[in-house]
């Protein structure tokens, strides 16, 4: 056995059991250390080797060195893998332990519903106009074709703040401000709080409406229905249809109630729609010529339509909230449930 083979054998013997990088490093030092390493020691013997054997010896030393290096690197690679594996294993976790998450709150259900509606109408080119909650009698009633002795004043029990000022009973009041300030084409959406002196199981003295108004040339009842079809499909789903039926509002003529096909049963009749297949969602109509005239808009040139949606009702229908009062009680158990963003 050559000297080189002896070293190889000895190396292999000493390598046994060395699986961690520290003991492998010691082995490396023992053989390859510049000063004390056994392989390097052979290099120092070079000068004592006869001239004609020098080349052969040198070649063998280099082969040995490469062999040691290769063995060491294999061992080190294995050790690294083993150590990584070990580290991973030692860090095993129970992934079902509850998350450490930052809590996120929700917008109020009314805000969520309102934002969805605004998004739809904003896409159709509606500007958002928020009027004031306190209005004067002219804008809330008279300009909307509801003079003092009009029976429609009885339809809405009004909170008065002075003989002239009141809490608006309808977001329609905003229509007049807009039409006074702006000439057609007009497309506005007016969401906001409204107030009526009504407080029982199904009525809240404050609730929210969203008023829409379009005034332009050649606007018809068919346009109203076409736009509302688009709206209900976006809010309540693709197949939802609308149905118009006659009603009365002083500021529109003709006036209609708009029902949409029940999104719970698809119109077959269920508990939600009380078996009728239809759900009442809003009031609408062609803007009364007198209202246009009150705002200095010529009804011979322009026409328009308006609609008013009860946001609470829309939200209660969409989310299945059964009591309007729950919307104003700030009960976290309610607010936490509605996340429709």
């Amino acid at each position: 056995m050559s000297r080189f083979d002896e070293i190889r054998e000895k190396f292999l013997e000493e390598a046994k059991g060395r699986t961690d990088s520290r003991s492998i490093y010691e082995l490396r030092k023992k053989y390859l250390d510049r000063k004390a390493g056994e392989v390097n020691a052979l290099m120092k013997e070079m000068r004592n080797i006869p001239k004609d054997e020098k080349a052969d010896f040198g070649k063998n030393v280099n082969l040995l060195k490469d062999w040691v290096l290769e063995n060491l690197s294999k061992m080190e690679e294995k050790a690294r893998e083993a150590e990584l594996q070990h580290r991973y294993e030692s860090e095993k976790i129970d992934v079902t332990i509850p998350a450490d998450k930052d809590p996120r709150g929700n917008l109020h259900p009314i805000t969520q519903m309102k934002n969805q509606m605004v998004d739809i109408f904003a896409g159709m080119g509606f500007e958002i106009y928020e009027g004031t909650e306190i209005e004067n009698d002219y804008y809330n009633f008279t300009a909307l074709n509801t003079p003092m002795d009009h029976p429609a004043r009885d339809m809405q029990d009004t909170f008065y703040l002075s003989p002239e000022y009141l809490l608006r009973t309808q977001t329609s009041a905003g229509q007049i401000h807009v039409m006074e300030a702006k000439k057609p084409p007009i497309k506005i959406l007016s969401p906001g709080k409204v107030f009526r002196s009504d407080d029982d199981a199904t009525h809240s003295p404050m609730f929210s409406q969203m008023e829409g108004l379009v005034v332009d040339k050649g606007i018809t009842l068919c346009d109203l229905q076409g736009m509302l079809d688009e709206f209900v499909q976006q809010v309540y789903g693709e197949g939802t249809r609308t149905r118009l039926r006659p009603s009365f509002f002083p500021f529109t003529e003709p006036s209609v109630e708009v029902d949409c096909s029940c999104f719970a049963c698809g119109g077959k009749g269920c508990k939600l729609c009380k078996g009728t297949g239809w759900i009442e969602i809003l009031g609408a109509g062609v803007v009364n010529n007198k209202v246009l005239e009150n705002c200095g808009i010529d009804p011979n040139e322009y026409s328009g339509f308006a609609f008013g949606i009860g946001i609470e009702r829309a939200a209660m229908l969409k989310y299945g909230i059964n009591n309007i009062k729950l919307l104003f009680e700030s009960d976290l158990r309610v607010l936490e449930q509605i996340n429709d963003a």
Binding site: A122, D154, L161, K217
Partner: protein, 810 residues
């Protein structure tokens, strides 16, 4: 408005089912809110002939053999005292449903199903019924009021269903009438619509009568307030025989929920329901001074109404007077002094039109809402006023309860009750609808509505001319015609289009609305939930927050007619509502949580309001429970500041409702825009709160004009930032802000100052504290050497020592 099917059928032939009629009315604008059969709870009750009837010894009971025709013959026990062989009674068969009554046999206690039973050992296979058990009153069917069996006519067919005999197969339509159609506040008015929608002829109620020669001398009717009483018709009736009304009239009144009183009074109530015209009958014998005068009341004038209440009137109330005193509060209620009594021998009938808003105001102010006032408030047309008097006089004759004199008064301010002509362009109708309705359909529809249409050409335009009946004063222009056409033609014939002729417009939120939404989103990101509270609150909320008498928050706008005192003031702060919300949540066991609200507060410029008040957006934030403190809410304030691109400063302050040492003013550009504070413990305790509440209210409206623009990009620094930690010892009263200000003043390279520790206790002297900061320095054009940094720190320490006596902690 309740309309019995049988009554409608008097004026129009109805050959469809009640449900079909309901659908047709619905489609033309009359929603039937409730449709039910009069006898919907009754079933399985037939005409039973009692063939044998024997008393059961020692009881009040009889055992009877009852022949029920094709249903069979049954043994039935009966406790009524009028059971008798040979007579016919309603027999409820086994399985029938009838009303259950209490021991007094008159109070209904739900329904029951008849079962086979045994009474005193005698089998009973059914039940003979009283009127109460079938839901039939004396007014609905003569004899039904007897506290015993209801006796059926001898010619009733044995075994036949009793419902048609007793009128229990009738249907009641409860119809919602929109405010533009006061002419439909009557059976006849609805019958007109039914006739139009079913395309059947309308039969007129009988209006004929014969006047005698009898005439009152020296009697006169005058109207001094023609604005409030545009029409007043009076007619004198004599030889009055007061007594019960006939069964058919009593039955109809009962169906619409009116009690029969006596023939004269019943006639007025009948006409109110049939024609929608309130009428009144005065006992002529009690009228003084030979006349009737309609005028406004004198301030303080008194009247005792039929319900024996004394009312004090004022000059806004309209009264009907005889020659001396008020005898009725116009349109609301008659006076006790001229009430129809059994002894009445002659009457003066009144049929009048009163201004609707005046009746409404009077009715509200005296707190009396009657069937008459309700009709007047909605509006009564003079067409009905004239027709009603004729109908009343006809009924007097038909009932034979008086003689019609020739004393007739008609005070008229000049209004016509004749149809008026109206011409509209047909193309304008299509312009409203968006579809073209064929001319023949328009003509057909208008004919059905009795508007006598004709089509002509004028200047190349097709014109529709209508004769609008006097009761349709809602018909004013082509838009109204368009509505009549489409409601009868069918809304389902519209073809939806999408604004085909409209111009394109831009839309969306405006910048302020967008900012508000971003603040809301940011607060949700902090785990807070948005709330919505009423815009009004209670005066006691101002006391809860202990605002002093002169606090601006006390200058709140009052609602003149609030639902209750608790909801009577417009909010001047959002804090009170939020405290209540937190209290409610704590009561539900939510001992920690985060809420916020953005809403208006209302700041009047003058009270009472003479101009629009300032409506300001405010934000209120409430954090409570575990892990929360002053600084978590302050964190929310910083989030709001970042969202709005503004910088807040904070200064120790006080509020009447917060912890005296845990309250800060929030300051933006020198202006106080709100507060942050811990709710005072005594308030929390009084509200039974179980965990501390930390609050913030900001005036967003004040912040919006201060909002910065989107920040510009700053180029990245050339060199890495370096930091040094300093532990400083100082007097306890020195604030963090003071230290920060001095550090910044001492060195311009300080980029960031972060407090990471506050310590009090050994070895720091008792009056002192230690605060430890990490200072981050950013270099300019040249990189810092460590000597540079040492120099800066030395400069900072020197400044802190000189100004605040602060030393480096040993």
């Amino acid at each position: 408005m309740i309309a019995p099917l049988s009554w409608l059928k008097e004026y129009v032939e109805i050959d469809c089912t009640p449900q079909e009629l309901q659908d047709k009315l619905f489609s033309c604008g009359f929603e039937v809110e409730e449709l039910h059969e009069v006898g919907e709870d009754i079933s399985g009750v037939v005409v039973g002939l009692v063939e044998t009837c024997e008393a059961i010894p020692d009881t009040h009971l009889h055992v009877c053999t009852v022949n029920c025709g094709a249903h069979g013959t049954f043994q039935i026990c009966c406790g009524a005292d009028n059971v008798e062989a040979g007579r016919k009674f309603p027999a409820a068969l086994v399985g029938a449903t009838v009303y259950a009554t209490s021991r007094d046999h008159t109070t209904v206690e739900g329904t029951m199903t008849i079962k086979k039973g045994k009474l005193r050992g005698y089998e009973s296979q059914g039940m003979l019924c009283s009127g109460v058990e079938l839901g039939v009153s004396e007014d609905m069917y003569p004899g039904a009021g007897y506290n015993g069996l209801l006796v059926l006519p001898d010619d009733a067919e044995v075994g036949a269903d009793v419902k048609p005999i007793l009128g229990l197969d009738d249907w009641l339509f409860d119809i919602a009438i929109t405010a533009n159609r006061p002419d439909c506040q009557s059976i006849f008015g609805i019958a007109r619509e039914v006739a139009a929608v079913l395309e059947k002829p309308l039969k007129m109620p009988a209006l004929d009568y014969t006047e005698t020669d009898v005439k009152l001398d020296n009697f006169n009717i005058t109207v001094d307030a023609p604005q409030l009483c545009p029409r007043y018709i009076g007619h004198y009736v004599y030889d009055v025989k007061t007594g019960p009304s006939p069964a058919w009239m009593r039955r109809r009144l009962a169906l619409v929920g009116m009690n029969a009183i006596s023939n004269m009074v019943d006639i007025t109530n009948y006409i109110l329901t049939e024609l929608g015209q309130p009428m009144h009958a005065f006992d002529y014998a009690y009228l003084r001074g030979n006349g009737i005068n309609v005028r406004t009341a004198k301030d303080g004038e008194k009247i005792v109404t039929l319900d024996e209440q004394e009312l004090t009137l004022n000059s806004s109330n309209l009264v009907i007077c005889d020659g001396e005193r008020p005898i009725a509060l116009a349109g609301v209620m008659g006076g006790l002094n001229s009430e129809i009594l059994p002894t009445t021998e002659s009457v003066m009938f009144e049929s009048a039109k009163f201004a609707r808003d005046n009746i409404r105001r009077t009715s509200r102010s005296v707190g009396k809402r009657t069937d008459a006032s309700a009709r007047y408030e909605k509006g009564v047309d003079e067409y009905a006023t004239v027709m009603a008097m004729k109908r009343a006089l006809h009924l007097v004759e038909e009932l034979g309860c008086g003689k019609v004199s020739s004393t007739h008064f008609d005070v008229n301010t000049g209004n016509s009750v004749e149809p008026r002509e109206m011409t509209v362009e047909i193309d304008k109708i299509s312009g409203v609808l968006g579809i073209t309705v064929p001319d023949e359909d328009i003509v057909r529809i208008m004919n059905n509505l009795d508007m006598k249409p004709s089509i002509s050409e004028k200047d190349g335009k097709r014109m529709l001319t209508l004769r609008v009946p006097a009761y349709r004063d809602d018909m004013e222009g082509y838009q109204d015609v368009a509505e009549e056409v489409i409601r009868m033609y069918g809304y389902d014939k519209l073809v939806p289009t999408f604004l085909k002729s409209a111009e394109v417009t831009t839309g969306g939120w405006n910048p302020v609305q967008r900012r508000e939404m971003r603040v809301k989103e940011a607060l949700c990101g902090l785990g807070a939930y948005e709330c919505m509270h009423y815009s009004f609150f209670s005066p006691s909320d101002l006391d809860l927050l202990r605002y002093p008498a002169d606090a601006p928050e006390r200058n709140a706008i009052r609602i003149m007619n609030p639902i209750s005192e608790e909801l009577s003031l417009m909010r001047t702060t959002l804090t009170a509502s939020m405290i209540h919300a937190v209290v409610r949540n704590q009561k539900n066991g939510r001992l920690d949580g985060r809420l916020f609200e953005i809403a208006k507060v209302f700041v009047p410029k003058a009270l009472p309001l003479t101009e629009y008040p300032d409506e300001r957006d405010h934000l209120v934030v409430a954090f409570w429970g575990k892990g929360e403190d002053f600084f978590t809410v302050k964190g929310a304030a910083e989030t709001v500041a970042d969202t709005l691109h503004v910088k807040f400063a904070y200064k120790a302050a006080t509020r009447s409702f917060t912890h005296p040492y845990q309250t800060a003013d929030v300051i933006c550009e020198g202006q106080t825009v709100g507060y942050i504070g811990t709710l005072a413990y005594d308030i929390a305790e009084a509200e039974s709160m179980r965990t501390n509440l930390y609050l913030m209210e900001l005036d967003l409206a004040a912040l919006y004009p201060l909002c910065g623009n989107t920040p510009a990009f700053e180029p990245l620094p050339k060199f890495l930032d370096v930091s040094r930690d300093l532990a400083l010892v100082m007097d306890k009263n020195i604030t963090c802000a003071q230290v920060e200000d001095q550090i910044r003043a001492a060195c311009k390279y300080v980029r960031e100052i972060r407090l990471f520790d506050v310590y009090e206790g050994v070895p720091i002297p008792p009056t002192m504290k230690s605060m430890a900061f990490t200072l981050t320095f950013r270099a300019g054009e040249e990189e810092f050497t460590s000597e540079d940094l040492d120099r800066y720190v030395a400069k900072i320490l020197k400044k802190l020592d000189a100004v605040l006596g602060i030393t480096l902690r040993a």
